[in-house]
Subunit: 469 residues, 2 copies
């Protein structure tokens, strides 16, 4: 009923919220608070602060691979920005990792039809040595096919997995594809292979390969692992249609130096709560990136959105009741090192993390709010849902959501969580490639999404709802 | 009138043509000939021969830079394919050129914010020497702005032109952008600059730079010339917003060896005319490509279409009256060397070139036939236009068209010409980049376009219309 009459009244999302405050359903926020929510929505929909932050980060810092100069600079950048944006507290928490060196890559088909191949080392891969290695390809369409190969059947071969990731709005093609990237090397090695190349885990047709983390099993020989671009994978498949014997050359000089310990840091900033300063509404993103592109999408967008959201709230006449904590995690890409460290440092105050949400996916607009909160607090969240419904955001029917990426660890430790699902149709065109640059940021969607996080953080911090119950 | 009743009758393009033969407007072709035209349309719309040829060329040969192994292989490839496809005569005509070596490229911003930059040498550029060169950027938004700079005002600077090409269906943004690529180096050198980088002449946002030919003025010092990718150009503009002093490093090891003469060849194949074998309907494309990508779009599509069109016609019960000559030009990319040589060899038989059309643009479907023929033959061409109108092809109102690329030289020497204009919206996303690969070929549009060239060649060869009058 209400929804129908509301829909009829909508002239704009902002107008709709203004109207909501005159209805009596608003049990959680009072009239002043609804006005603040409306103001925050207006402000963030009209502000390009999050875009400016992403531009600043990607122009002045660039990529932020753990242990790189950019990684170090980004910590200073984030601390300075948070201070200038009016955060009440800003600090860093040390995170330690290892520095993996990408080195150089060279890949080509030697026969039957010589071609250069666009390839990239997977994060964590060992190298081939300076001379590279030459071997015939053993082609598998899927990781499962590779798993089914007999032991020793691939001795001296380079495994090639040609599985192509599917494009979906929620990015769910990633799960079916990423196994080959993460686990393929050790499985291939168990069968005797000397290296592995896989079709990039990406939905684009660009001559750019997608990097990403891979893992070696402890008890299996390590072999070099790389991805190749989608057009190059097509070309290999076309060669394999013509010949059973495709000779391939791969050189990677990537390596990890076990003696070198890299220091990086989580950067944390707070808008301190006026009534319950020890109750934390956490919003997060990761500050590190791969060393290809400038990490504009992954996860510059998250960094810009979270900082802008907190800033907008800091400009209200008074601080919300609870503390809003922006956590910019270190070393997400190489294995959630910052998140693990955060859990270690803050394990005793997990019960003070009232609710949290991260941003580490998508370039398009948020279309669904997925909840993972105490059942009793769902009705209060439904009030919040009414505020963002006119912006085109639905609510999930299930209540099992975890926060994205780093904050999944906090969710798993019991933190009530929201996953704001954006249109991720294009995300895996750019993900972990040289194409992850500022121009891929959708400025309009960014405003929409920043508004939603701003409103969410304010609602959660001001309402006093206990999302744990 | 006719058009209205025809439109009502259309179920499919093929059906429409079948219908046409029952109308009496068909003054040029008789009933049997219209049936052959219909059959050719059906055959080519249902055949993937042109796609198979492009797959074969790009897989088995790869890129075809003048003087490269691929260039040599492509000549053998084309001769063999023409023979196996049933051409009556196949031969090559020698073309001589110089071999420009791309060498390596390295580009980066040194300060204020260090970044690597994706760059590519322009075809014909000299190198910087192995040590590269370091200089501050002098930024111009357009070539015109550079032209207005005072002499000696750019001493020791690297010129950066940031003009961005516009996207249009007919690719007309190219003309406004390409001047900086072709002429920018010598104009910059005249003002004292030590090198020039320009934003890629391309409509994409990929981290891939677009190469292409450039020219030095004879009396001006030669300086190195490169393009950078669109996202990198954006990044430079953002640095220049923050600082007047952007220090840039450029290394190119490209060079031309004036002592080495490269031999390549035009490849020519004919379906010999049954009545007027010395009257030539010429359809063409260029066989060479740049050394980035595999030249699938530029101009593998043209190669595949022309060879397939002639093959389809060769399968008719009898040869058309006139000869259909497929000309695969050499060395188009480096300055129409093959076309110039063709003009030299065939200058005395230009009046026997009854009509011609090339394909060297676009990946989308043909939407317009542009004529440049004798006025008296326009009515006959209008009959042909009725056959392709149901396929969505309009006719230009003007009669001043030249053939594309190489064949423009033949047009300028008096050959009646057709320019079939395709949807070129996406063409300059791929043009002269690593992204020019098989996956960019639109298989559906390719069938549509192959059908139109097949029908055109048959119509022109069989009708006996003198397009010169």
């Amino acid at each position: 009923m209400f929804k129908l009459s509301l829909n009829n009244m909508i002239k704009s999302a902002v107008f709709s919220i203004a109207c909501l405050s005159h209805f009596s359903f608003a049990d959680v926020l009072n009239e002043t608070e609804v006005k603040h929510l409306t103001d925050l929505q207006k402000t963030s929909l009209n502000s390009d602060l999050s875009y400016q932050l992403i531009e600043s980060l990607t122009t002045e810092v660039g990529h932020r691979l753990v242990g790189s100069e950019g990684d170090k600079k980004s910590i200073t950048w984030a601390v300075d920005k948070m201070r200038s944006l009016g955060f009440d507290k800003v600090w860093t928490e040390k995170v330690t990792g290892t520095y993996w060196h990408r080195g150089d890559v060279e890949a080509k088909v030697l026969s039957p039809y010589p071609h250069k191949v666009v390839a990239i080392a997977l994060g964590g891969s060992i190298g081939t040595g300076e001379d590279g290695l030459t071997a015939n390809l053993a082609h598998f369409e899927t990781l499962k096919d590779l798993e089914a190969a007999p032991d020793n059947s691939l001795n001296g071969k380079i495994v090639f997995i040609s599985y192509r990731m599917e494009r979906h709005i929620d990015g769910n093609g990633y799960d079916a594809a990423v196994g080959a990237r993460v686990s393929g090397a050790s499985i291939a090695a168990q069968k005797g292979a000397s290296a592995i190349i896989i079709r990039s885990v990406g939905t684009d047709n660009n001559r750019l390969a997608h990097t990403g983390v891979m893992r070696y099993k402890d008890d299996v020989k390590k072999i070099p692992a790389a991805t190749i671009s989608n057009p190059d994978a097509d070309m290999l498949v076309n060669q394999l249609k013509r010949s059973n014997s495709v000779e391939f050359y791969l050189k990677l000089t990537s390596h990890t130096d076990p003696k070198v310990s890299v220091k990086t840091a989580n950067v944390i900033g707070e808008i301190t709560g006026s009534e319950f300063p020890d109750e934390i509404v956490s919003i997060g993103a990761h500050l590190d990136s791969w060393d290809v592109g400038t990490g504009a999408v992954d996860d510059g967008i998250g960094v810009g959105m979270m900082m802008a959201a907190a800033h907008h709230i800091s400009r209200l006449p008074e601080r919300p009741k609870r503390t809003i904590r922006v956590i910019l995690f270190a070393a997400e890409e190489v294995g959630l090192l910052g998140a693990k460290q955060y859990m270690e440092v803050h394990k005793d105050e997990m019960n003070k993390h009232i609710i949290g949400a991260e941003w580490d996916f998508g370039v398009g607009p948020i279309y669904e709010m997925r909840t993972g909160v105490g059942v009793k607090s769902l009705s209060a969240l439904n009030e919040f849902a009414e505020y963002i419904k006119p912006m085109g955001v639905a609510v999930s029917k299930t209540n099992t959501a975890k926060a994205q990426s780093d904050m999944r660890l906090l969710s798993e430790a019991g933190m009530p969580s929201i996953n704001f699902a954006p249109d991720g149709t294009l995300y895996f065109d750019y993900h972990h490639t040289e194409n992850d640059t500022l121009d891929k940021v959708d400025a309009k969607a960014l405003k929409h999404n920043t508004a939603i996080y701003t409103m969410f953080a304010y609602f959660a911090a001001q309402s006093g709802v206990d999302f744990r119950k």
